[in-house]
Symmetry: C2
Subunit: 205 residues, 2 copies
DNA sequence: AGGTATACGTACCGATCGGTAACATTGTCA
DNA sequence: TGACAATGTTACCGATCGGTACGTATACCT
């Protein structure tokens, strides 16, 4: 059940009514630390220290560390679909090109030292318990990803759209993980090419 | 550098010289708990409690919790290649069938509630620091996996063996991750079929 | 039986974990 | 100027973290 504590994450754009400034700083810092080093690895003390605030401030805006982690992932979710929709908007009516754009971008992102993969995926690994607030957000994100990929497989005219959509999801998740496992020059750089091969092999003849 | 503390993990087969029995119990329990719930999530107290031993016993056999985690992964590594080699041995001289057997097995393993994916992959997510003892084992395991998959891609006569090998690795990692993300009925069940499609599309004509 | 090495248990360490109580300070708008 | 909301300050809580000093039991060999 959602509390009413941390819902006002409206961006303070200059002069509008935007009281809670500490909450944003906390969430920004938590976002960065949780993503780069892992949720379990980061204590609330380090978050408040780096954010230049104090612990009571954190707990006035967020009911618990677990809920702060969930808020981090909700923010991650927003930005995730922003990137996804960008790739989609770049190639209207051409799902195959949309996918290629999205995957090319992922492949590039993985080719950097200390790449940390997908925050959603990582959170699910850290919290196997399905009832954990962070994992709930993560699973919802992945369900939506699966739904979109399958829909695109239909739009591409695949022989077996569900299988192709799922195959693309496997490639994407594999890119997230192997990106952080292998670093530069790893298998993730080939995700777009492999996806294209898989698509080609999955279309109706 | 390897210490000489935890090297005698020889199985005590009845009457041979096998003094340290506590070490095996500890490693067995740690294996189960680390895999199912995560390394960071499990404290040494719970391990010794479930193993029916005491904490000093743990630290006589393992220099630290981090090294215990590394030992867990070394054991995991052994069993991993056992399964891999089983699939290989089942189809001598037929890498495509070997792969299919291996992937079918993975696909089946993922289709169970509370599937927890690959212990190696999970450990790497939990410990982004490349110098962490557990991660060192994990990365070595994945490098070896990549090497084998690329070699099999060569043996299958792929047009671009490195790309195919890496594509297969992406599918496998994707299966591990999405297996624990989606549970029953998830995308991981299609890993073998998608791999076969990808192979088909990657062979020389 | 006695000595000796090896394994094990009790009790404890300082540090850090997530979280809170009570109160002082600030900034904002009417 | 007053009122209110947001933030800061200080100090604290019990629980758990990884790790250890030190005494006790057990097994083996002579």
């Amino acid at each position: 059940m959602p509390t009413d504590k941390n819902i006002d994450l409206t961006i303070s754009d200059g002069h509008a009514s935007a009281p809670p400034k500490a909450a944003k700083k906390i969430l920004d810092v938590a976002y960065d630390l949780f993503y780069r080093r892992g949720i379990r690895a980061i204590g609330v003390d380090e978050i408040v220290k780096r954010a230049g605030v104090t612990k009571p401030s954190l707990y006035r805006s967020f009911p618990s560390k677990d809920e702060l982690a969930a808020s981090y992932l909700r923010q991650y979710d927003l930005e995730y679909w922003e990137r996804f929709d960008e790739a989609v908007a770049a190639h209207p009516g051409d799902p195959r090109a949309q996918l290629k754009a999205f995957l090319t971008r992922i492949g590039k992102r993985t080719q950097v030292a200390d790449y940390r993969g997908c925050g959603m995926t990582n959170a699910a690994v850290e919290y196997p318990d399905h009832s954990h607030p962070a994992r709930v957000v993560s699973e919802a994100n992945k369900q939506e990803l699966r739904r979109r990929l399958r829909a695109m497989a239909v739009a591409m005219g695949a022989q077996d759209p569900d299988t192709l959509g799922d195959g693309l999801l496997l490639l994407i998740e594999g890119a997230y993980i192997s990106g952080q496992l292998f670093g530069l020059g790893g298998p993730a750089q080939s995700v777009a090419r492999n996806a294209d091969l898989l698509i080609e092999a999955s279309l109706k003849k």
